[in-house]
């Protein structure tokens, strides 16, 4: 059943290839002219944003690629854990119902 389910489930091969190509391009751009990149990225002040932005770009692009890579290989989270996913319990401050005083007078 697990294998049938796995084979029925479409694997994100195209996504993996697209993200992989983008990741390759990003790394190529970084290493193509290393000396110029490091000189620009280490100027300090506003240039400090460059390594930070690059790190974010790698996390998005290469992170996407690695995620799809493991999915294509069939290494995914156990379906049991997905089924029993922790459901966020909304915390609501409920007010206790106040007892209503009733007069039980008998005539």
């Amino acid at each position: 059943m697990a294998r049938q389910y796995g084979s029925m489930k479409k694997k994100p091969v195209v996504k993996m290839l697209v993200y992989g190509a983008l990741s390759g391009l990003l790394y190529a751009a970084l290493f193509w002219n290393q000396s110029a990149v490091t000189a620009l990225f280490t100027r300090g002040t506003w240039y400090a944003a460059l390594p930070i932005a690059t790190a974010f770009a790698i996390s998005f692009i290469h992170g996407g690629f690695t995620s799809y890579f493991w999915s294509v290989l069939g290494v995914e989270a156990t379906r049991k854990s997905v089924r029993t996913r922790v459901v966020e319990e909304k915390h609501v401050d409920r007010e206790r119902p106040q007892p209503q005083p009733r007069l039980r007078a008998r005539l």
Binding site: M1, Q34, A48, S59, S81
Partner: protein, 361 residues
């Protein structure tokens, strides 16, 4: 941090072997981080330095790889419902303050006692924290395993029960991972200590995760996942600070990230296959092994400070190499336990599904 020289540091030339080495160490570090929420950094910094990277550049580049890695790990584990973003952000803000204060203390020690004094302080911090916290975690994990209740829901520690029972008006915040309101006044010192440890030994999670589990009362899975949010906040602030001084070698950070993003995805997936005590087991084992690694270096620094008899160059070399080897062994052991637990979990799940099919047929 104020004394950081404002100049582009001498960045090393990278060859294929260096790249491969950083990629592999990054992958293993990422695998462990994805699983226990931290770790890996303590091997990466000395690992880079062994390639000839200057100390500050190694620290800065390591930090710049840490925050994107933590971000990817946090997003992945959030998909499994394991992350408490609010707790992570609150914890992270106070941890950031701890990072700055910890760096300030490091500077003062370095100015007063030199490099050897600073290294001794780091090693002693390593040994004390890892001995106390690592010992407690490992004991708890072994106790749970032996009790035969490994599948049972984790029980709140007595400290966590007390912390959750204290009501200080105006400071109470609800956290979904704790399923309770907790006073911010408890989170401030815990976050601060996490940041201080991160500034000292590069792995704040060795205090962050246990404090979320044992002091605040978060389940192991949520504590370790939420630590990734804390690491992101701390890493982003620290990286920016180092980048302002031109100390981040983006090539090094990029190569390590290339490996660690593969690792962190796998480590995060691994958490869905294991029982909660395995997280504690991996963390405890790594902490205790690393403790021995750093303890070996204490005589070297004591000798450099003239507090004990001077050690020969050969002895110093042997101690340094042994220390690094033990540290690498700690990371490999952690990675091995993660992969083994994941393999067993997958195997058990497949067996169960096949049994279900057989019964239905």
């Amino acid at each position: 941090m104020h004394n950081i020289p404002f100049e582009a540091a001498n960045f090393i030339d990278l060859n294929y072997m260096n790249v491969l080495y950083l990629f592999i160490v990054g992958f293993i570090g990422g695998l462990v981080s994805g699983f226990i929420g931290s770790g890996g950094a303590f091997v990466l910094t000395p690992g880079m330095m062994s390639l000839g990277v200057p100390g500050l550049v190694a620290v800065a580049s390591n930090m710049c790889h840490k925050f994107p890695k933590a971000l990817v790990g946090a997003i992945k584990r959030a998909k499994y419902g394991q992350v408490d973003v609010k707790l992570g952000l609150v914890f992270g803000v106070f941890a950031e303050a701890g990072v700055f204060y910890g760096a300030h203390i490091q500077e003062k020690i370095k100015a007063s006692f030199g490099d050897a004094g600073s290294n001794l302080y780091v090693s002693v911090a390593f040994v004390v924290v890892l001995a106390v916290v690592g010992g407690l975690i490992l004991r708890d994990a072994i106790k749970t395993y032996r009790s035969g209740n490994a599948d049972a829901e984790e029980k709140l520690s007595s400290i966590a029960k007390w912390v959750q029972s204290v009501n200080i008006p105006g400071t109470m915040v609800y956290f979904k991972s704790l399923k309770a309101k907790v006073s911010l006044l408890f989170i401030v010192p815990l976050g601060f200590a996490t940041g201080m440890l991160a500034a000292t030994i590069a792995v704040g999670g060795f205090i962050g995760v246990p404090s979320m589990i044992y002091v605040l009362g978060a389940p192991s899975l949520m504590g370790s996942a939420t630590e990734l949010v804390v690491a992101f906040v701390m890493g982003l602030g620290g990286s920016f600070k180092y980048a302002l001084h031109g100390l981040v070698d983006i090539r090094l950070a990029g190569i390590i990230l290339a490996g660690s993003l593969f690792g962190i995805q796998l480590g995060a997936i691994g958490t869905t296959y294991v029982k909660p005590f395995v997280i504690k087991l991996v963390m405890g084992v790594i902490m205790v092994i690393v403790l021995f690694s750093r303890a070996l270096m204490v005589p070297v620094y004591l000798s450099q400070l003239g507090l004990i008899e001077t050690l020969t160059d050969t002895t110093v070399k042997i101690l340094k190499n042994s220390s690094f080897a033990i540290m690498s062994f700690a990371l490999l052991t952690g990675a091995f336990i993660v992969l083994q637990a994941m393999y067993k979990g997958r195997k058990a799940e497949r067996a169960m599904e096949e049994k279900e099919v057989f019964e239905n047929a």
